[in-house]
């Protein structure tokens, strides 16, 4: 099997596992809806700065919760079996693709519920949605590798938070700036450099993950 086929079948395996149990989707959905509702009860109405910050915080924690399990949800024996079948590159690539799909789906739903429960003040809706998409893709690429690293330690979830926050803050800074620009309906051409930086970070993280993951699982 070549790399592309392996990746395809691994992603299909992850998707069907998820489809059978619907564990991740349901738990994260519940998480998103309840936090949005709690925030709504606490704030009632907010200005756009708080609106934007709250949305990204909710999305950040939802994505950490969703992705931190990506290397621990299956038993070590089954993982050993996958490793003997597929190359490490295809495993990490398939995880990144699967997490990206999951995050895009989740963030779309989060954005919908958030803007239904809170009043949606977005000036440039299409561009804001683009920012959300970019954000979820970058969260997925960064967190997949970090969850791979933290799955090797014993207290997985704490290490996951400690390792991922410093890495994800630069992403969040750019994302909040980009989404704020689209929120106030600013000229789109002013945000192209931000989008470029985000895409560059994504390309870098995916290539570095591809290079490093073979060292990570071989132990």
């Amino acid at each position: 099997m070549n790399l592309l086929q392996q990746v395809k079948s691994l992603v299909a395996k992850d998707l069907s596992l998820e489809w059978r149990s619907k564990y991740a989707i349901n738990s994260i959905l519940l998480y998103v809806v309840s936090t949005v509702f709690v925030c709504y009860q606490a704030f009632k109405s907010v200005d756009i700065f708080v609106w934007n910050a709250l949305f990204w915080i909710i999305l950040l924690f939802a994505s950490i919760n969703a992705i931190s399990r990506s290397f621990t949800q299956e038993s070590p024996f089954r993982q050993l079996y996958y490793y003997s079948l597929a190359s490490p590159k295809s495993i990490i690539l398939s995880k990144i693709i699967y997490n990206t799909l999951l995050m895009v789906f989740l963030s779309a739903i989060a954005y919908l519920t958030y803007s239904i429960i809170f009043k949606n003040p977005v000036g440039d809706a299409l561009f804001y949605f683009l920012a959300v998409l970019l954000g979820s893709v970058s969260f997925a690429t960064v967190f997949t590798m970090i969850s791979g690293i933290s799955s090797k330690t014993n207290n997985n979830s704490t290490i996951m938070a400690i390792l991922s926050f410093p890495v994800v803050i630069p992403l969040l800074i750019v994302l909040i700036k980009l989404s704020h620009n689209s929120l106030i309906g600013a000229d789109r051409s002013g945000s192209y450099s931000d989008i470029l930086v985000l895409l560059a970070i994504n390309v870098i993280t995916v290539t570095v993950s591809l290079l490093l993951f073979p060292y990570l699982w071989r132990d």
């Binding site: 590798m145 970090i146 690293i149 090797k152 330690t153 014993n154 207290n155 290490i159 400690i162 390792l163 926050f165 410093p166 890495v167 803050i169 630069p170 800074i173 750019v174 700036k177 450099s193 931000d194 930086v197 560059a200 970070i201 870098i204 993280t205 570095v208 993950s209 490093l212 060292y215 990570l216 132990d219």
Partner: protein, 224 residues
Amino acid sequence: MRKNWWKLLGATFICISIIAGFIGPVPKLPILHETIRNVYFHVPMWFAMITLYAISVFYSVKYLNQGNPKFDIIAVEAVNTGILFCFLGLLTGMQWANITWGEPWPNDPKLNGSAIATLMYLAYLVLRNALEEEQKRAKISAVYNIFAFPIMIVLLYILPKLTDSLHPGSGGNSTFSDLDMDNYMRPVFYTAVAGWILIGIWICTLRYRVRLIENTRNRDVNNH
């Protein structure tokens, strides 16, 4: 002494930068006044820090390729020394900012970026503490070190250039070369940077050698 010439060179460079930095002429600037001389002492901290982190990443890559545990010790001691320089840079920067910008921690992307970079390397040390087994610890922390380094570069060099900053050379501010019109500051500044980088590497090698001695001693104790 033949092998130690570079340590002496670093020490001399710093002494030269101190003399020239206090006595030499500087451009007269409205807010900065004499504090412009801090360029010779505050900024080299960051150069030393980045160099040490780069050394650490270099040895992490080498460790992953060759598996020699000595490379892992070099990587972690370079990070430890880099964190020292990072804190020195943050402290001196805060003192300088308090006088010239009116507050020790203005909301500036370079400041926040370096604080987050510190967090990244503290997380690296936490990760090392969380792993018991030596070989596993070395390998996994090397992976994290290499993974975090490009993101730190983005954080420290690319993001400040895009946003408004109080530091020179970013967000449409005048750059260092605009400030230094008579080109007197430049040689002194580069001397200071080279000196501090050499001293940083020296401290790192000291720590590395102490660590090696400790390791062999521990092994002896365990064997007997």
